[in-house]
C-alpha cells in the first residue's frame, strides 16, 4: 500500500516537473536547428569557401607575403596587448578584491566600460587624440612620431577593447577567496610578493588562464577599432582581420576565406580551451556574457 503511494508520487513527480516526451523532443529540435542554422553553418561555410579551389590555392593564399605580414602583425599586437592587460587585471583584482575603499563600484564599472563602447568609437577616440587634427597630432608630427596608421595605434586600440577581460574573470574569484590565507602567510613570515605568487596566484590560476584565453581571442580578432586606426597599409598595418576585409573587397574570395579560416580555427581552439578550463575548474566560466559585473561585485562587497 505504502509502496504504491510512493510509486504514484514518484510518477506524479516526473510528470509534474517535466514536459511530455513529444514536447521535449520538439523543443530540443527547434533549439538545435536554430543553433545549427545560425551558428554552425557560417563556420562550415568559411572552410568550404576557403577550400573551394583545392588545397593548393588554400595554402598559396596562406603563405603569400602580405598574409604572412598580417599574421605576424596580429601575433605582435596580441603579444603586447595581452601581457599588459594581464598585469593590469591582476593589479586591479588585488586592489578591488582584497581591500575596502570608497568608490570601488565606480572603479569596477570603469574597468567594464570598454565593453559598452562600440568598436568604431574605440578607434575614433585614438584618432581624436593622435590624428592630424587631434590634441597631440601637431606635437607628434613635429617630433616625427607615428602612432596613428602605425603599429602603436593598433596596439593602443587593441589594449582599449581588451582591458576588462582578465580583471573581470579574476576579481570575483579573488573576492570569493577572502583574505584569510594571505593573512596567514603574512603572519608566518612570507613577504608580500611571496604571498601573492604562492597563495593568491595559485588559487586563481584557472581564472587567470580563462581571462587570458578570451583576451587573446579578442585581441587577435578585433576588427572595428583597429580598422579605424590602421590606415590599411598592405604588408605594414594590416592585421589578419583587416587582411580578410581587403581581399574580400577585391573579390579574391578564396584568399579572403583562407585567411578567415585561420581566424575561425583560432575561435575553435579558444572555445575548446575555454571548455577545458570550465570542465577543470567549475567555478570559472561563462562570465563574459554577464552584464552588470559591478552590481554583482557590489553585493559581494557589502
Amino acid at each position: 500500500m505504502s509502496q504504491g503511494a510512493i510509486v504514484r508520487i514518484g510518477a506524479l513527480d516526473v510528470r509534474a516537473t517535466s514536459e511530455p516526451r513529444i514536447i521535449r523532443w520538439l523543443l530540443i529540435t527547434v533549439a538545435l536547428a536554430f543553433l545549427i542554422l545560425f551558428v554552425c553553418l557560417p563556420v562550415v561555410a568559411v572552410f568550404v569557401q576557403a577550400l573551394g579551389k583545392g588545397f593548393g590555392a588554400y595554402f598559396g593564399a596562406v603563405v603569400e607575403p602580405d598574409a604572412w605580414a598580417a599574421i605576424r602583425l596580429t601575433l605582435l599586437t596580441a603579444a603586447i596587448a595581452v601581457p599588459l592587460n594581464l598585469v593590469f587585471g591582476l593589479a586591479a583584482a588585488w586592489a578591488v578584491a582584497k581591500f575596502e575603499f570608497p568608490g570601488k563600484t565606480a572603479l569596477v564599472t570603469l574597468i567594464d566600460l570598454p565593453f559598452s563602447v562600440s568598436p568604431v568609437v574605440s578607434g575614433l577616440i585614438y584618432v581624436l587624440l593622435f590624428g592630424a587634427q587631434g590634441w597631440l597630432g601637431g606635437w607628434l608630427a613635429g617630433h616625427d612620431v607615428k602612432i596613428l596608421f602605425a603599429v602603436p595605434g593598433l596596439v593602443l586600440a587593441t589594449l582599449f577593447v581588451t582591458v576588462p577581460f582578465v580583471a573581470r574573470e579574476v576579481i570575483p574569484l579573488m573576492q570569493a577567496q577572502g583574505t584569510e590565507e594571505e593573512e596567514a602567510a603574512m603572519v608566518l613570515g612570507a613577504r608580500g610578493w611571496q604571498t601573492f605568487s604562492r597563495v593568491t596566484l595559485r588559487n586563481v590560476k584557472w581564472g587567470v588562464l580563462y581571462g587570458v584565453i578570451l583576451c587573446n581571442a579578442r585581441a587577435m580578432g578585433e576588427f572595428g577599432a583597429v580598422s579605424v586606426v590602421s590606415g590599411h597599409i598592405r604588408g605594414q598595418t594590416n592585421t589578419l582581420p583587416l587582411h580578410v576585409e581587403i581581399l574580400y573587397n577585391e573579390y579574391n574570395f578564396v584568399a579572403a576565406f583562407a585567411a578567415a579560416s585561420l581566424l575561425a580555427m583560432l575561435a575553435l581552439v579558444t572555445l575548446t580551451a575555454k571548455a577545458l578550463v570550465e570542465w577543470w575548474s567549475p567555478e570559472v566560466g561563462h562570465l563574459e556574457a554577464r552584464g552588470g559585473r559591478a552590481a554583482e561585485i557590489r553585493t559581494v562587497a557589502t
Partner: protein, 278 residues
C-alpha cells in the same frame, strides 16, 4: 592620499602599488581617450552638433541601427530562453557540444562572421538560394543586418538565463503542480516571472552589443545610404572625409545610448538580485 584610503587593519601589502597602477592604467588607456570625444564635441557649437545628428542620412542610420538591433535582440530573447531551457533541463546526445557552441559568436572574429554570413545568405548561398525564389532578399538588405545582429547577440540571453534556471528550485514547480496547475500554467505563472529579470538583462546586453557592432554587419548590409547604412559605418565614412566633428557627433549619441543601457542593465541586475533574495 591612496595610503589613507587603505583599510585600517589590513595586514596585506601592496594596496598603494596595485591601486596606483590600476588608476594610472585606466586613466591612460580608457579615460583620457574617451574624454577626447567629449572635449571634441565641446568645440562644436550646439547648432552644428544638431545639424549633424539630425541630418536625414544620420537619422536613417540611427533608425537602422536601433531598429535592427531591437529585432535581433528580440529574436535572441525568444531563442535564447528556449536554448537555455533545453540545455539546462533536458538530456540529449551532444548537449555539452551544443553548450560550447553557444559561445562561438563571441569567439569568432566579427569580420569572419560577416563574410561567412554573407556567403550563406547571398542569393547563391546555402540558405539564400532557397529564400530568393520566395522573393526574400536576405543579404544586402535590412534583413541581412538583422541576421548578423542576431548572430553576434546569441550568447547573451542564453548565458544570463542559464545560471538562473540552474539554481531554480524544483520544489516550486512541484508545489504548483500539486496545487493543480498545468505544466503551461506553472511555466507562465511560476518559472517565467523568476526568469524575467535575467531575460531582460540578456536582451539589453544583446541590444547594446548589436548597437555598436560593425565588423559582422558591413559585409552583409550592402551599405546603401538611407537604406542599409548603420550608424557605426557612418562614423567611419565621416572620418574618411576628415569630418571629425561630424564623426564625433554621431559617436557621442551612440556613447550616450550605451551608457543609458549600462545604467539600465545595472539596475536590472540589482532588481534581479533582490528578486532572488525575496
Amino acid at each position: 592620499m591612496i595610503g589613507r584610503l587603505r583599510r585600517r587593519h589590513s595586514v596585506l601589502p601592496g594596496f598603494g602599488l596595485a591601486m596606483g597602477f590600476t588608476v594610472l592604467y585606466l586613466s591612460l588607456i580608457v579615460l583620457l581617450p574617451l574624454s577626447a570625444v567629449v572635449f571634441k564635441s565641446a568645440t562644436v557649437s550646439w547648432a552644428q552638433f544638431w545639424a549633424t545628428v539630425s541630418s536625414p542620412r544620420v537619422l536613417a542610420s540611427y533608425r537602422m541601427s536601433f531598429g535592427a538591433s531591437f529585432v535581433g535582440a528580440l529574436i535572441n530573447m525568444i531563442f535564447g530562453v528556449l536554448l537555455a531551457w533545453v540545455l539546462v533541463r533536458y538530456e540529449f546526445p551532444g548537449r555539452r557540444f551544443a553548450d560550447a557552441l553557444v559561445d562561438l559568436p563571441f569567439a569568432l572574429p566579427t569580420a569572419v562572421a560577416g563574410i561567412a554570413l554573407t556567403a550563406v545568405y547571398s542569393k547563391e548561398g546555402w540558405i539564400g538560394q532557397y529564400l530568393e525564389p520566395l522573393g526574400i532578399k536576405a543579404a544586402f538588405s535590412p534583413l541581412g543586418i538583422m541576421i548578423a545582429l542576431t548572430f553576434i547577440g546569441l550568447p547573451f540571453v542564453v548565458r544570463t538565463v542559464q545560471p538562473v534556471l540552474q539554481t531554480l528550485e524544483v520544489e516550486l514547480e512541484e508545489a504548483a503542480a500539486s496545487l493543480g496547475a498545468s505544466r503551461w500554467q506553472t511555466w507562465r505563472r511560476v518559472i517565467f516571472p523568476i526568469l524575467m529579470p535575467a531575460v531582460l538583462t540578456g536582451f539589453a546586453l544583446a541590444f547594446g552589443r548589436a548597437l555598436g557592432e560593425y565588423g559582422s554587419v558591413i559585409f552583409i548590409a550592402g551599405n546603401m545610404p538611407m537604406k542599409t547604412e548603420i550608424a557605426p559605418l557612418l562614423i567611419i565614412t565621416k572620418l574618411e572625409q576628415y569630418d571629425y566633428a561630424g564623426a564625433t557627433g554621431i559617436a557621442l549619441v551612440m556613447l550616450l545610448a550605451s551608457f543609458v543601457l549600462l545604467l539600465g542593465i545595472n539596475s536590472l541586475q540589482w532588481w534581479s538580485r533582490r528578486h532572488q533574495e525575496a
